[in-house]
Amino acid sequence: MHPHLQPGPLPARMQLAPGNRLKHFLTIEGLPHLLLHEILERAEQFVTLPAKQQKKAPLLRGKTVMNLFFENSTRTRVTFEIAAQRLGADVINLDIRTSSAAKGESLLDTVRNLEAMNADMFVVRHEHAGTAQFIARYAAPHISVLNAGDGRHAHPTQAMLDMFTIRQKKGAFEPLKVAIVGDVLHSRVARSQIHALNTLLTGEVRIIAPRTLIPADIEKMGVRVFHRMEEGLRDVDVVIMLRLQRERMEGALLPSESEFFKLYGLTEKRLELTKPDSIVMHPGPINRGVEIDSAVADGPRSVILEQVTNGIAVRMAVMSMIMGSTVGGTA
């Protein structure tokens, strides 16, 4: 009987090999608290390694990492590429949009062909939710899949680099209040952040947005919902701004960019409502004057560029854990 006719394992179950070792990295949902800490610890090791040594940590020597990007994203792809290269892996970038998919080859056939080229890890980005999990389920057993964003579902490395940045600046998660602001409806980043923050026992997770940008029953993911910045930002330690796509104006979700900025844009004045030592984050790329004022984005509270730097260390951490190696030797 064809394996697809058997019920599939839950994504959270599927990404763990025996001994709770990370086999794939598909979603934060369902991962144990300790494992998230392990990722953060491991990333810390990569960050504190002197730059020279960092570039010579060949934990993935002889391994082939394939970046399968079905959706364009130069920025994210480059950070994965740098992370893999620093670990000594061979990296191959495939822009599937312009190759096989356009010729009508099925996703599974594409995967089978790449497997046959001795890949060890697929880094997958796709416009449809569940694609990374689908590939993980049907790929050969020796292949690991790392989700670099699937539809609106998950973007787990982005969430972990955000957690890393928060921990770097704030220490423990328990006393923190974190607000996520903007287009939660379309955001895989927000979903992964919510899971990560809650798994790490963050004191309070808030989201702030108009009703049109909040998905149904989001409260059940463990967040408090606010529709007014003036209420939601009060006394928070961390503000995470989400990117607002221009096409949201088309789907009658918002009247205009200017009204959005007026009501939900992060300005210095609004930032005064937060804790005096609060930090401002953004997964990038930022829309100045749409969701965030330049004075804030470039201001002293902003850690946006540090997020980008940390992204490499976190991706190195996840990749090395998946490939079963430890800093200072292969396990």
């Binding site: 006719l5 839950l10 949902e29 999990q133 689908f134 029953d217 059940k220 993911m221």
Partner: protein, 431 residues
Amino acid sequence: MNLLISHARVIDPASGRDEITNVCVQDGKILALANDGHVPKSFAPSETVNARGLWLFPGVIDLAAWLREPGLDHKATLASETRAAAASGVTTLCYQPEPATSINNSAPVNLIRDINTALGKVHIAVVGNLTLKLEGKKLSNMGGLRRAGCVGVTNGWQPVADLKVMRRALEYATTHDLTVFVYPLEHELAGGGCVHEGEVSTRLGLPAIPAAAETVAVAQTLALMEMTGTRVHFCRLSAAGSVRLIRQAKQDGFKVTADVAAHQLHLTEMDVVDFNPLCHVQPPLRSQADREALLQGLKDGTIDAICSDHQPHELDAKLAPFQQTEAGISSLETLLPLTLRLVESGDLSLQQALGKLTYQPASVIHSSAGRLTAGAPADLVLFNPDSLWDFSLEKMRSMGKNTPFAGWSFKGHVVRTLLAGKTVFQREAER
């Protein structure tokens, strides 16, 4: 051929009969139901079946099966699916048109009838197109469809975007005394979604269909019915709000009936949490509260029938990320088992459950089958109520193996199916 079925527990939901008695079958019809000593003297059986310990009830009438042939034969054929039906106690299937197997005039109706007559496993009742090519723009040849024997017309899941066209289609169908099978969905509101809008769609980030996309369409259709006086059958209810609206409409005297797919009574949105494409259905699996409302609707008579909504697919149709897979379950063979499970769980009485599969759907399509009375067609099921079995893909007869019910355990199975008095299925090595 004359057949005497003796000492079966005869269950006829239409009359409420439930007793051990004998059934005499002559010339494809039920001649009489008679206790020992009362079998008509003139009746000389050529075969006698000792059915002690078995149940006998009318053959199942399934209001919706997507039989694919002609046009989508790679998914299923009339031969494969009618064979599966007979083995599952189904004696009447309602053929649903879809864009690739569209029924605009009498020709395809006659073709399906000819193929099916040669196969001889079940009756097929054809539901024709409401609009030409199901495009929602021009009327189909409803007069011809009626004369060819269609039991109703529908636009399936294809939208009729222009309400003026919908009004005229309802009026024209009424002219020809055709029931309109409405699949209630406001397509713009559904917005290309593939799962129920709620907790699970939010977690999985899948595009979602709100329950209101269905209830809005039900309300809209009811408003048009009030103007046109059309007889409407609502297909595949999934939302609590729809049940409420139809309950009220029935109280207000609307000529309306409704059905639900058996899987909606057992699965909910939670079954999609692993992106399982086998649970990708239209309408989507909804919340636990919706499921309970559907059960309540069955109990209080708001929902008249349980159907399979059988949609066999080839393997590749489900072998992709969730959103890209085709919707539907190959569900002919689980219709009776899933419905009887509702008796075991105490949700329905045995009479209620079998009624939703027999005389009630029969009245939607104006069929004289589905009841055990003298003169009715001898479409009968002999059923062993005690056997325990697991539903397995290996033993499935349908060409489509796309079901989430593999491995489910069921109690009781079909021993023999009769179509107009003729045995069309008999289980080997039984009893």
